[in-house]
Amino acid sequence: MTQVDVKVDGVAYRDDVEPRTLLVHYLREQLGKVGTVVGCDTSNCGACTVLLDGRSVKSCSVLAVQADGREVTTIEGLSGADGALHPVQQAFHDEHALQCGYCTPGMIMAACDLLRDNPDPSETEVREGIEGNLCRCTGYQNIVRAVQRAAKATVTS
């Protein structure tokens, strides 16, 4: 076991983990952060995307021990303290950018990361920005619309 100190969604945790524990399993099983999900074992699908020190990573391809001393933001830490949806969450709802919703937490986190770098992405830039996240339901069109809508909302707010 190895000790990790990690801040997740604003809360500091100190836990013992096996070195082989993937970050996503630590989040889900030790912290109960089941909003972040696992969709594959080759890091293709992106369903497990979280922010690590503010940058998107696939939490199935990071060891929990690698997150020691760092800060993780999951889908559960996005909305405000009053429960208000984050602009990206709101835009996904408004544009019907999800159906089954399994890819959604990862897709939203990937979109947040993209918008941090590029606050006003073109359609092509959005598509390239979320290429690491697979969705089987939507055909991506409404996801693209949602990310662009969130960009506008963020710029004007």
Binding site: E76, H96, G101
Partner: protein, 791 residues
């Protein structure tokens, strides 16, 4: 009595979905999120070989590993595991092999379960799999369908006499639905024959399957990531001998299905067997790579198609022979999948004669079953592809050939050469709109210019004018097709004492947004606010009856049941209102959720008032039971037939073979639209899925029967970069087979888009002498087609 007048109707509104609140915040209840006190974790050892006898298996080593509670092989369950049921033996003599949940003495495809370990943690269970000792004596793999049917071929199941499961036939002459096909073939002016291959697909829903089983005394509760909790309950009860009333199945939030979770799985059975043996709750969540091998696949057919026409382009005959790969076993509806297409090969066209013959073939591969569209994409592909080839043979424009032969809007209802009656449609309107939207004439002009210039990148234009059958229901029809189940749907509507409404549906969704759509319908029927309606589903304890969600059936069947139940509530409320207002029922008016007495201003009761009065039941009319509840079961008398015109423009780089979709336009007619936002979303996803078959996805086995596309690295599910934006529009020809006029939209896009794309690719390459490209049309396949063409 009218339902609404003042407030805008909910039906037809682009309501944002109720489901989203939990999905966008990560507060979803996926099966794998569930943790029960004392819950154990199961890991499965899968066969690494396609076909072999198990000569020795020893799991005792695994039992010594840390954290391990138990380890089992097939020997431990051989007398109690029953068989995974096949609910659709399509002929009287369909051969149905025994399908154990865990192999006992033989494995028949890579990925089949051979042993399990149960441990305190998932990691420990997986670790201990490595201590299982197993020896295999190889048997020859059976991979090629034609070779499998040859005399002396090695048998997948040595106890059966051949690798053929069934032959299913339809012929219009003998069925009395048209002329004899052999006569028409003999007399044909023009005959075109093609062999098409439907590659093997993997459904690739995003949420891997997961099952949690909690045994409690005699009772068992099963949580499973399934499309079909009701089907699972009944079949598990029959197969494993668990009394049905002691078995509760819950499908919590389900992360996509696309037919892939329309299954009663070996893993669900095995988890249940193990949990009951141990008397402890057990969870099994598979990894993606396990799912790719073990979850059912789809398509995988060889289609030999002959079409005939008169010299002036009137279609006369269609002769279809299919080899359908069943894989190693028959799962829930494996044999029925190609038969679902049998009634669609004629597409939207009028034929004199038609024959369809399908052989179901066993191979040592993962079993096949439903993948979005299930049978109809194969049929639509074949007809839409071969109509294009016939047009070339006739020297006709492919759209002109279609127009000449399709059913015109004034001919509905129209009984086709298969004997099935199409309810409604307007192919002319959808096609004209689509041609406009894509600017077809401009594209044609550009194509001619680029051909003349010998551009490296050529433009291809593809057409798909499709129809499909939806609303998988009429129970009488299903029975006639030898499907074991029914197709009705049941719903309950309850107005609670405070006026809020609970709707119980048997059509348990997994991304379709039924909670939203059903709420819209009930809000309209009862005149209550949309937000006052809650939809309950996916738990056999709260919604005991239903046939679940697949085959684009939930709106055409389930929504109608909901609507009918709501109308019954209104009827009951009217009796209560008339009684309380001391008026005749005939004088009651119902507008915006309020009953009033015609001609008596001020005499009124809201449905919420009535709900409380009926709850208190102090003064009910004679013979009326307390509470505003009603139940309805809807079993339609006929199917519904959505249709549409999909047009696709592709750029094909003739040097590299890369295909890029430049424009995609679809105009669909799915009947009455309850929620346009959801309908459009379904079309987007469906089209994307069909494009994926045309260009990207294929499950490939090597010569030893190993799945070489066993991860998402090699099985190419398209990302946002790999797909275009779609232009969508609709025409509306309400269905005449249900009172809502809805048809179904879950699969239309998938069914329509594949041939539109491949027709476009072939069109681009036509000047190079190319007349077909096998799916998926990868850059390499396109390049090879160009090398083989004659310019």
């Amino acid at each position: 009595m009218t339902a609404t007048a003042e407030r805008p109707a909910e039906i037809g509104q682009a309501r944002r979905r109720k489901e989203d609140a939990r999905l966008v915040t990560g507060r979803t209840m996926w099966t794998d999120n569930l943790t029960l006190p004392g819950m154990l974790h199961m890991a499965i050892l899968h066969s690494p070989v396609a076909h072999a006898r198990i000569t020795r298996i020893d799991v005792s080593g695994a039992r010594q590993r840390p954290g391990v509670v138990a380890a089992f092989s097939g020997q431990d369950f051989k007398d109690v595991q029953g068989t995974i049921p096949c609910a659709w033996p399509v002929t009287e003599d369909t051969v149905v092999p025994n399908h154990p949940s865990i192999a006992v003495d033989q494995v028949n495809h890579v990925g089949e379960s051979v042993a399990v370990v149960v441990a305190r943690s998932k990691a420990e269970a997986q670790d201990a799999l490595e201590a299982i000792d197993i020896e295999y004596e190889p048997l020859p793999p059976v991979l090629d369908m034609e070779a499998a049917l040859a005399d002396g071929a090695p048998l997948v199941h040595p106890d059966l006499s051949s690798n053929k499961s069934f032959t299913w036939e339809f012929e219009s002459g003998s069925a009395g639905t048209g002329r004899a096909i052999d006569d028409v073939l003999r007399d044909a002016d023009v005959t075109v024959t093609r062999r098409f291959r439907q590659q093997r697909l993997i459904p690739a829903f995003l949420e891997p399957r997961s099952t949690v089983v909690q045994p409690q005394g005699e009772g068992v509760t099963v949580w499973s990531s399934t499309q079909v909790p009701h089907v699972l309950r009944t079949l598990m009860s029959l197969s494993l001998g668990i009394p049905e009333h002691k078995l509760r199945v819950i499908a919590p939030d389900v992360g996509g299905g696309f037919g892939g979770k329309l299954q009663v799985t070996p893993e669900e059975f095995l988890t249940t067997l193990v949990a009951r043996r141990l008397g402890k709750p057990v969870k099994y969540t598979e990894s993606r790579s396990e799912l790719m091998m073990s979850g059912h696949h789809g398509r995988d057919q060889i289609q030999d198609v002959t079409i005939t026409a008169t010299r002036d382009g009137r279609l006369t005959g269609l002769d279809v022979h299919i080899l359908a790969d069943m894989g190693a076993y028959l799962r829930l509806i494996t044999p029925g999948i190609p038969i679902l297409g049998a009634f669609m090969y004629n597409g939207i066209y009028k034929f004199d004669a038609y024959r369809f013959v399908c052989d179901g073939v066993f191979t040592t591969k993962t079993p096949t079953d439903a993948v979005r569209g299930a049978g109809r994409p194969e049929a639509t592909f074949a007809i839409e592809r071969i109509v294009d080839e016939l047009a070339v043979e006739l020297g006709m424009d492919p759209m002109d050939l279609r127009r000449k032969n399709w059913i015109t809007h004034d001919q509905f209802p129209f009984t086709t050469v298969t004997g099935i009656t199409y309810d409604s449609g307007n192919y002319e309107a959808a096609t004209d709109r689509a041609l406009d939207l894509i600017e077809w004439d401009e594209l044609k002009k550009e194509q001619a210019e680029r051909r003349a210039r010998h551009d490296t990148v050529q433009l291809g234009l593809g057409i798909s004018t499709f129809s499909e059958l939806c609303g998988w229901a009429p129970s009488r029809l299903l029975g006639a097709l030898r499907y074991a189940g029914g197709g009705w749907e049941q719903a309950t509507v309850r107005v609670l004492p405070t006026g809020k409404v609970e709707v119980v549906t048997g059509a348990s969704p997994h991304g379709q947004g039924n909670e939203t759509t059903w709420s819209q319908i009930v809000a309209d029927r009862l005149g209550v606010p949309f937000d006052d309606v809650e939809v309950l589903h996916g738990d056999t304890q709260t919604s005991p009856r239903g046939w679940d969600t697949y085959g684009s059936r939930s709106a055409a069947v389930g929504a109608v049941a909901v609507s009918n139940a709501a109308l019954r509530v209104v009827e009951k409320a009217k009796r209560v209102a008339a009684h309380l207002l001391e008026a005749s029922e005939d004088d009651m008016e119902f507008v915006d959720g309020k009953f009033s007495v015609r001609g008596t201003p001020g005499a009124e009761k809201t449905i919420q008032d009535l709900a409380f009065e009926a709850f208190a039941a102090h003064d009910m009319p004679e013979g009326v039971e307390p509470n505003l509840d009603a139940e309805a079961t809807f079993d339609p008398v006929a199917l519904s037939f959505p249709h549409g015109t999909h047009l696709c423009a592709v750029d094909v780089d003739t040097e590299t073979g890369r295909v890029t979709i430049r424009k995609y336009v679809c105009v669909d007619d799915v009947g009455t639209v309850i929620n346009p936002l959801i309908v459009e979303g379904q079309v987007h996803g469906g089209v994307a899925h069909g494009i994926a078959q045309a260009l990207y996805e294929e499950a490939v086995f090597d010569d030893d029967g190993n799945l070489t596309t066993g991860t998402l690295v090699d099985y190419m599910v398209p990302s946002a970069v790999d797909l275009p934006s779609f232009t969508t529009d609709r025409t509306v020809s309400p269905s005449t087979t249900n009172p809502l006029g809805v048809k179904g939209v879950g699969e239309t896009g998938t069914i329509a888009s594949t041939p539109a794309v491949v027709n476009a690719v072939v069109d681009a390459l036509r000047p190079f002498g190319v007349n077909d490209v096998r799916m998926p049309c990868t850059p390499e396949r396109v390049w090879r087609a160009l090398q083989g063409g004659t310019r």
